[in-house]
């Protein structure tokens, strides 16, 4: 009874839908590898379109198709936004395709499932880690704004990302930033009665309430991570780099002060508060540690790195912060430099070599997490200065890294930062409605037309930056140093090798099935 493949039946009617085969794509090269599975860059044979294929690992699954993948698929199909990675389709490779280990045991599905994503050239961490590359302030504002816009959209749609970090923020060569890797994300509602797991979010970006064992939480957990990234971008390296959970908490308290019932009402009722509360009183030092940030940046950072999650700023309010509406304004994504894509030039051999190196580095770093010698952005030092020329004046200073092209070419472009701020923000800085087809930024045209993704109607989230900033002053884009040929691999669709190398991952919880009660 076994055997005849369906095609041989040659019957007139075949099932009219279902998933396509992975054979519709030609795998070009592996661009990421993590606990979750491999990620490949691939070309769709019919259209020539370049995509990313993320393999869903099916082994070690007693419960069939992984619930994490179900969540990710559900959430990605629901979210249609220009700052959220687009899941184009799901393809399968039917039949027994041996995995790398040649395992074939058990009753497990041995075919493979792949999620097909639009291809993105970089991730934020990969970009930031490029030797000699430094972000400009308008560029950081531009990325932060896109991050917050995408995250606000998620939160409005009641999705918590739960793994916001640089390597999950993908960037294409049009300057678009998109949230990716929703493998830990889940839907929530404010009336959600059940408990959620606190074993989420990569340690360095994990908020204090989770570290203290909270199992009821909301969008504010993601906002802490955003704060960490924001500070990291301005500071030039990760800011809270604990090796384990107690150390992470300690680092947070050293920076943000010790929590008590005054600055965080109710903190003493969080499960592990008594276990982890610091023995001595600590002062909040955010302003002191980051005194080199400009005033508006510092003000916003303070609100993001607020210990009490109920007082922490929301994505929506953060988008309204002065920071994004004062000079230098966020630049237009399209004005950002196009960085070389790492993939085209890498031979297979080089990749293997690199992967080995990364493996080594990973092992070393896991033992001794190191801080990255990343270049902080070009910005004014000392007192906050709204005056643009002063700001620009500091631009030509290639901090530290000689030999690399300095950030700006100098010249008259500096004066662009001096443009007036544009129309004063009215009661609402965002034009109502007006959005937007959630089309993917021009790079790869939208193909998944059948998904009903025609513009979520005027929801309460800010769809578009106001015109003044969208067409705002260009960053000094001419002067970026081109990275040296062996810059690190910069695309990871979550859980990539570089990710792991950057610090303890989510305490290993991706390898374990969650307990079903606590999600």
């Amino acid at each position: 009874m076994a055997g005849a493949p369906y095609g041989q039946l040659n019957l007139d009617e075949s099932p009219s839908w279902g998933s396509r085969s992975v054979d519709c794509f030609e795998k070009l090269e592996q661009i990421g590898e993590g606990t979750y599975g491999q990620v490949y860059m691939a070309r769709e044979l019919k259209t020539g379109e370049i995509v990313a294929l993320k393999k869903i690992r099916m082994d070690n699954e007693k419960e069939g198709f992984p619930i994490t993948a179900i969540r990710e698929i559900k959430i990605l199909k629901k979210l249609q936004h220009e700052n959220v990675i687009k899941l184009k389709e799901i393809v399968t490779s039917p039949g027994p395709e041996m995995d790398e280990h040649g395992k074939s045991g058990g009753h497990k599905y041995k075919g493979s499932i792949y999620m097909v994503f639009e291809y993105m050239d970089h991730d934020l961490t990969g970009l930031a880690d490029r030797p000699g590359l430094r972000f400009t302030i308008p560029q950081i504002k531009c990325y932060m704004k896109q991050l917050l816009t995408g995250l606000h959209y998620c939160h409005v749609n009641q999705v918590l990302h739960r793994d916001i970090k640089g390597s999950n923020l993908l960037i294409d060569n049009e300057g678009n930033l998109k949230l990716a890797d929703f493998g830990l994300a889940r839907s929530y509602s404010s009336d959600h009665k059940g408990n959620l797991t606190n074993r989420v979010i990569t340690l360095w970006y994990r908020p204090p309430e989770l570290l203290l064992g909270a199992t009821k939480y909301g969008p504010s957990v993601d906002m802490w991570s955003v704060g960490c990234i924001f500070a990291e971008l301005l500071h030039g390296k990760p800011i809270l780099t604990g090796k384990n959970e107690p150390e992470q908490l300690n680092k947070i308290f050293e920076l943000c002060g010790s929590p008590d019932e005054i600055n965080w009402p109710g903190v003493s009722r969080i499960p592990w508060y008594n276990k982890f509360k610091p023995s001595r009183q600590m002062k909040r030092r955010v302003r002191e540690v980051f005194r080199h940030f400009d005033r508006n940046a510092l003000e916003l950072l303070e609100k993001m790195l607020t210990l009490d999650p109920s007082q922490r700023i929301s994505a929506k309010d953060a988008l309204d912060a002065e920071y994004f509406w004062t000079d230098p304004l966020p630049c237009d994504p399209k004005s950002l430099p196009k960085y070389e894509s790492s993939h085209e030039f890498q031979t297979k051999k080089k990749r293997q070599q690199q992967r080995q190196n990364e493996e080594m580095a990973k092992r070393q770093k896991l033992q001794h997490p190191q801080q990255h010698a990343r270049l902080p952005p070009v910005q004014q030092s000392g007192q906050a200065q709204a005056h643009s020329q002063h700001w620009a004046g500091h631009n030509n200073h290639p901090m530290g890294n000689t030999g690399q092209a300095p950030l700006t070419t100098g010249g008259p472009s500096h004066h662009q930062y001096g443009k007036p701020r544009g129309p004063p923000g009215g009661p609402n800085r965002y034009p109502p409605g007006g959005n937007p087809n959630p089309s993917v930024g021009g790079y790869y045209p939208d193909r998944a037309g059948g998904q009903g993704g025609v513009g979520f109607s005027s929801g309460p989230y800010p769809p578009q930056p106001r015109a003044a900033s969208a067409s705002g002053p260009r960053g000094a884009s001419g002067g970026y140093g081109v990275g040296p040929p062996n810059y690190s691999q910069s695309v990871q669709y979550g859980g990539g090798s570089g990710t792991a190398a950057r610090g303890p991952n989510v305490a290993g919880n991706r390898n374990q099935p969650y307990s079903w009660q606590q999600q």
Binding site: M1, A2, G3, A4, P5, Y6, Q8, L9, L11, D12, E13, S14, P15, S16, W17, G18, S19, K62, E63, G64, F65, I67, I70, I73, K74, K77, K78, L79, Q80, I90, T92, P94, G95, P96, H107, K108, Y109, K110, G111, I113, V156, N157, R186, S187, G450, Q451, G452, G453, V454, G455, F456, S457, G459, W516, Q519
Partner: protein, 319 residues
């Protein structure tokens, strides 16, 4: 906002009656052809999730003899069989005390699956279980396959083996909208509409409960493949209101239409609600006894081997 309006449910899984007819016919026709050619219709789901179709029997004579015995199910017999297992889905979900949302999701998965497969190809008992299992996963109410299998005395491996074919047949469109949330919403809205005093609040509660029960029935008709969850909800509420007489329904419909679609006449909506009502009126719940004949037929055409065996068994019991 991502909601029903932007969902795959709306864009891909709402049909017109003619679509459904054609799809059922096509699936039935395909299985029939398979039976004629190969003498069996069962599509095996291998342990690795791949599908295996019946092979051409080498012994043509034997084959001809077999399929003379195995009669394919007719379209209406297939429909009855599905109806039986849809009722079963609610039964099993009740036994596990799953929320209505899961029941509805499992039912919709089941319905969508059989838009492309014949019950002769994949046995509805197996698919029913996998649909429940997958609905639990998708609705964040996870139950292990083993637990589910145990609870109803079925091999949990079957549940897992069919998961891929179900997910693929659903095109991984896992978010479905059921009428229950819409009913809750309309009830909330009616509270303001009738400026309720306490007495009326109790009536509203009754209206709510009955409407949910009507919706349970509606979910077993074809209506969820034809109408939006909001329409299903209004039809259930209208039916419930006929019993309880809590609101002036016509006026209520007018009110919500004027708010949401001022250009659309109530009469148009009423046509939809009437159509849903008719489907609910026509709903039959086959009993196990009704199923006996169809079940036997199904067994024979899925796998004539079992026919032989059962015949032999019969012989033996006679001896």
């Amino acid at each position: 906002m991502a909601d029903f309006l932007t969902s795959t449910h709306r864009s891909k899984w709402i049909f017109v009656p003619q679509d459904l007819k054609e799809k059922y016919k096509a699936a039935n026709h395909r299985a029939k052809q398979m039976l004629e050619k190969y003498g069996a219709t069962r599509v095996d789901v291998d342990l690795d999730g791949s599908l295996a179709y019946p092979e051409l029997q080498s012994d043509v004579k034997d084959n001809a003899e077999k399929h003379s015995r195995s009669k394919p199910l007719k379209i209406d017999e297939e429909q009855l069989l599905r109806a039986f297992y849809e009722f079963k889905i609610q039964d099993v979900c009740d036994a596990f005390k799953f929320p209505r949302k899961i029941q509805a999701t499992a039912l919709i998965y089941f319905k969508r699956f059989y838009l492309q497969w014949s019950v002769m190809e994949h046995h509805p008992k197996d698919i029913m279980l996998t649909c429940i299992y997958t609905a639990c996963k998708a609705e964040e109410n996870h139950v292990s396959a083993e637990e589910l299998g145990k609870g109803i005395d079925q091999d949990h491996q079957v549940i897992l083996n069919n998961e891929m074919v179900v997910l693929q047949s659903l095109g991984f469109d896992l978010i479905v909208y059921s009428p229950y949330r819409s009913i809750d919403g309309f009830i909330d809205d009616m509270e303001d509409f009738i400026y309720s005093n306490n007495g009326q609040l109790q009536h509203l509660k009754d209206l709510h409960e009955t409407a949910k029960m009507v919706a349970d029935k509606t979910m077993r008709t074809e209506a969820p493949l034809l109408f939006s969850p909001g329409q299903l909800a209004l039809a259930a509420l209208r039916r419930s209101n006929e019993e309880h007489q809590v609101v002036d329904f016509e006026r209520y419909l007018n009110k919500i239409l004027s708010r949401q679609h001022p250009a659309r006449p109530v009469s148009e909506l009423t046509i939809y609600l009437n159509a849903i009502d008719q489907l609910v009126n026509k709903l039959v719940t086959p009993t196990a006894a009704d199923m006996k004949h169809i079940d036997r037929k199904l067994k024979y055409c899925r796998d004539p081997g079992s026919h032989e065996k059962s015949k032999k068994r019969k012989h033996r019991s006679k001896d």
